[in-house]
């Protein structure tokens, strides 16, 4: 059909390595795990620095049951990052906001399972944010390589 082709470099940053400055250990782990198969290393001496300007979790009751107890939980994660050139410390793109949001059913009579599921969904949100961060990083890397 019209114009469809196999994906090229859209999801592949054209950097040999990047450094992550700031952010939680889980974000670093997820980014490293997703960058490795793309051939991009994550370490502290890269000329390109992903600076985490803000990283924020929000957890709130989205719905309650007939007794007013938590029945639906909303997890909301927001990351604000910027690509910085290590030597000149000059920003290579404007600050970017990435937001991810998920709901899960919460059962007061099985709180251990609900809290484990919450943890699983937190990792899902990190996976989702990192996937989109890599797309933006790939785009930024193509532009940096051009000029």
């Amino acid at each position: 059909c019209s114009g469809w082709q196999l994906r090229g470099q859209t999801h592949t940053p054209q950097f040999e390595s990047v450094t992550l400055a700031g952010g939680a250990a889980q974000l670093r782990y997820t980014l490293e795990r997703e960058l490795t198969p793309l051939g991009v290393l994550l370490h502290n001496e890269s000329p390109y620095v992903i600076k985490v300007i803000d990283e924020r979790w929000d957890r709130r009751t989205a719905a309650v049951d007939e007794r007013g107890r938590i029945a639906e939980l909303e997890l909301h994660y927001e990351l604000v990052w910027q690509l910085i050139d290590r030597d000149t410390q000059a920003p290579l793109n404007p600050p970017r906001h990435i937001r991810a949001l998920r709901n899960l059913a919460y059962y007061p009579d099985n709180i251990t399972a609900s809290s484990d599921e919450e943890e699983m969904i937190r990792q899902d949100l990190y996976d989702d944010i990192v996937y989109r961060l890599i797309n933006q990083l790939a785009d930024a890397s193509r532009k940096v390589q051009q000029d």
Partner: protein, 42 residues
């Protein structure tokens, strides 16, 4: 009257978080899509 505000690091920000040294190039992990490996195809 007082004024509350965000906490911040007094001295300059701590050195970047201690992390293992970057793997030297020759020991870089073989990525899955290393299809230009130089093994002899036969």
């Amino acid at each position: 009257c007082g004024q509350k505000g965000p906490l911040y690091f007094a001295e300059p920000a701590p050195p970047p978080q201690p992390q293992d040294q970057p793997p030297a190039p020759e020991t870089a992990p073989a990525t899955d899509n290393d299809d230009d490996s130089d093994q002899d195809p036969h």
